[in-house]
Amino acid sequence: MKELKVLVIDDCAPMLGMMVSILDRFGFTSIVTARDGEEAFAVFQAEKPDLVITDWHMPNVDGLEFCHWIRRNKHSVNRRVPIILMTGFSERERIGKARDSGVTEVLVKPFTAKDLARRIMYVIDVPRDFIEAMEFLGPDRRRRPDDDYIGGNKRSAEPIDA
């Protein structure tokens, strides 16, 4: 895992420290950190990480706002970087909101080392197509074809391959 650079963002210092230690045990050697979304902007631009793991709730700029910025700002060094969002929320509606903001994976806290490893490997091995639309910019939210679905097309227009 030493070839990948990871950016971890959390305003809770003990949690940030724990994440760095866990990633270190996973074999990541290039780990950069930030304490909120605003600081993370600068680190992201300078370090160009391969993977971002961020908390949702943080002061100043939160995880969703940071994700929105990465995906939509023309200055972003990597709009399609995989983003794993950590949150204590587990309600469906909240998770849906996170996905609509363009996060790649959601990791509900508290989690185990296995949960985190699974998310990271999923991002590595099952990358999702990236959708660019006026209202949405992020990984395709349709993970698998739903053969049982018999309703109409929920998308206003099918995306064209770029």
Binding site: M1, E3, L4, C12, P14, M15, G17, M18, S21, I22, R25, F26, G27, F41, A42, Q45, D50, W56, H57, V61, E65, W69, R71, R72, N73, K74, H75, R80, P82, M86, T87, G88, F89, E91, K109, P110, T112, A113, K114, L116, A117, I120, I124, D125, P127, R128, D129, F130, I131, E132, A133, M134, F136, D140, A157, E158, P159, I160, D161, A162
Partner: protein
């Protein structure tokens, strides 16, 4: 430092580009296994590495009490403020939830499953009703007392008798609220 342009959060380049060029169709960019190529075909996080990482969680020595006290203080202050409002209480709802989320998510990561589980119970209740009336704020108050007491008495799991008492008190209060709501 970043230049000023980066901080214009309301700026939405994507919308601007779409409007500028009159684009209507979304674009799909095919996924590539960029990260897998970087790390090589056989690289993985091994079971041994996961086990070692889990030890960090299981043996976390960081004292989470100051952080928990700060969060509880935040909840108590917000609750007091909300109680002083005669209207517009629901506008404070999202802000009130944040410390609950933090406690639910992080207490268990630092050895206190009791606080995580109790936070989940109250969080589910608040998310279900989304009401900040006096009774629901009393439940929030009971929760704060239980969390403070749990750190004071070093109650970390639900298996302990006094933990179950604290937990049940909050659960009964929620049950009473729900019964009244149904009636």
């Amino acid at each position: 430092m970043l230049d000023k342009e980066f901080h214009l959060r309301e700026e939405d380049d994507q919308l601007y580009i779409y409007k500028l060029y009159g684009l209507t169709k979304p674009r799909k960019i095919k996924a590539e296994k960029t990260l897998r190529i970087k790390i090589g075909a056989n690289a993985e996080i091994s079971a041994k590495q996961i086990e070692k990482a889990q030890e960090i969680i299981d043996r976390a020595t960081v004292d989470f009490t100051p952080f928990a006290n700060e969060m509880i203080g935040d909840i108590e202050n917000r609750t007091a403020y909300i109680q002083s409002l005669t209207y517009g209480r629901e506008e404070e709802y999202e802000a009130l939830l944040i410390p609950f989320i933090q406690l639910k998510g992080q207490a268990a990561m630092f050895g206190n499953r009791f606080v995580s589980e109790l936070s989940q119970v109250v969080l589910s209740f608040l998310e279900k009703y989304r009401r900040l009336d006096d009774t629901s704020l009393e439940i929030v108050g009971a929760y704060c007392k239980s969390v403070r007491l749990s750190y004071e008495k070093e109650i970390t799991t639900l298996e302990l008798n006094n933990a179950r008492v604290l937990y049940s008190e909050v659960q009964y209060a929620i049950k009473r609220y729900e019964d009244r709501f149904k009636g």
